[in-house]
Amino acid sequence: MDRRTSLIVREVCRLIIPAVMLFALYVQFHGEYGPGGGFQAGVIFAAAVILYALVHGRQKAQQILPTNTVVRFIVAGILLYAGVGVTTMVMGGNFLDYDVLLHGHQQAQHLGIFLIELGVGITVGAVMIAIFYTLDEFSE
């Protein structure tokens, strides 16, 4: 993708992309109170990166977020999720039984949900970016 993108498209994306990324973070960390959560946040964040890659070319996006880093994020997210489960087991509870994480019951649930939603968001976002990178690379 070495064609020049029009000035208007580039400037509009310059405005949109930070807003989309901020919205992804909002959806990620506000999912307990409003609609949304890790799945949606991950996809929205990936959409921002993919939009950048569509406008400026995949190579530019990969300079900021290389494929290897994305692949590491895929693994990190799912490890965070499963890691919470293993941690609760080590601390004497059942797998993913958040109550053992903290003393207060609701605080523990909050922490557990926060962590696993973060894991979901990281993995989903990274998977979408990785699939896009791979398809785009293959089509060249």
Binding site: V27, G31, E32, Y33, G34, P35, G36, G37, F39, Q40, V43, I44, A46, A47, I50, L54, P66, T67, N68, V71, I74, G77, I78, Y81, A82, G85, F95, L96, Y98, H105, Q106, Q109, H110, G112, I113, I116, E117, G119, V120, T123, V124, A126, V127, M128, A130, I131, F132, T134, L135, D136, E137, F138, S139
Partner: protein
């Protein structure tokens, strides 16, 4: 007719029209874009059903990311559908029988929105009434997804993980020898 019925009817009509258009099209580019339209209309329907979390996912994944990924995929495979010259009677028969069986299956289902349907009388009342006390967060969908059914969600993430592993193994360039970035 109240406003919600009108909205539901028009959304479902547009959904059906999109399907008819989709079936008749031969250009893969147009088909991918129309399936994006289909997803977006579904998202609208989910909003009308008050399922905002599902609508959100459908709009982001179905209409957004899937469209882009499929566009990237047809840039590999080509834009035109190859028209097969085989006889179409066998597929037609299979589809007719399967469709009839599915419609027959729906006859046993409880009516739309029936409060006494099994799905509304099993664990759902417990989640709706107790989750704010048991989990302490207002969004019941998140409570179910991340706490009551946390193990199932781990499985879902594993499915998405597997999708990435599959694509990277089949098409990824990093798999080639002597290319370390």
């Amino acid at each position: 007719m109240d406003i919600e019925t009108i909205v539901n009817f028009s959304l479902l009509t547009m959904l059906a029209l999109t399907v008819v258009v989709l079936i008749r099209m031969k250009s893969l580019l147009a088909i991918v874009l129309s399936s994006g339209v289909y997803s977006f209309l579904s998202a609208g329907l989910f909003v009308a059903m008050d399922a905002v979390d599902v609508a959100f996912t459908e709009a982001a994944v179905g209409a957004g990311i899937t469209t882009v990924l499929l566009l990237a995929a047809i840039s590999i495979t080509g834009r035109r559908q190859t028209v097969s010259k085989h006889k179409r009677f066998l597929p037609l028969a299979v589809i007719t029988i399967t469709g009839a069986a599915l419609i027959y299956g729906t006859l046993d289902m409880p009516p739309y929105g029936d409060p006494m349907a099994p799905i509304h009388t099993h664990v759902a009342p417990h989640y709706l009434t107790q989750s704010s006390e048991e989990i302490g967060i207002p969004n019941v969908v998140t409570s179910v997804l991340a706490s009551y059914r946390g193990y199932d969600t781990l499985g879902e993430v594993a499915v998405i993980f597997t999708a990435a592993v599959g694509v990277l193994l089949l098409l990824g360039r990093t798999a080639k020898k002597g290319e370390h970035k």
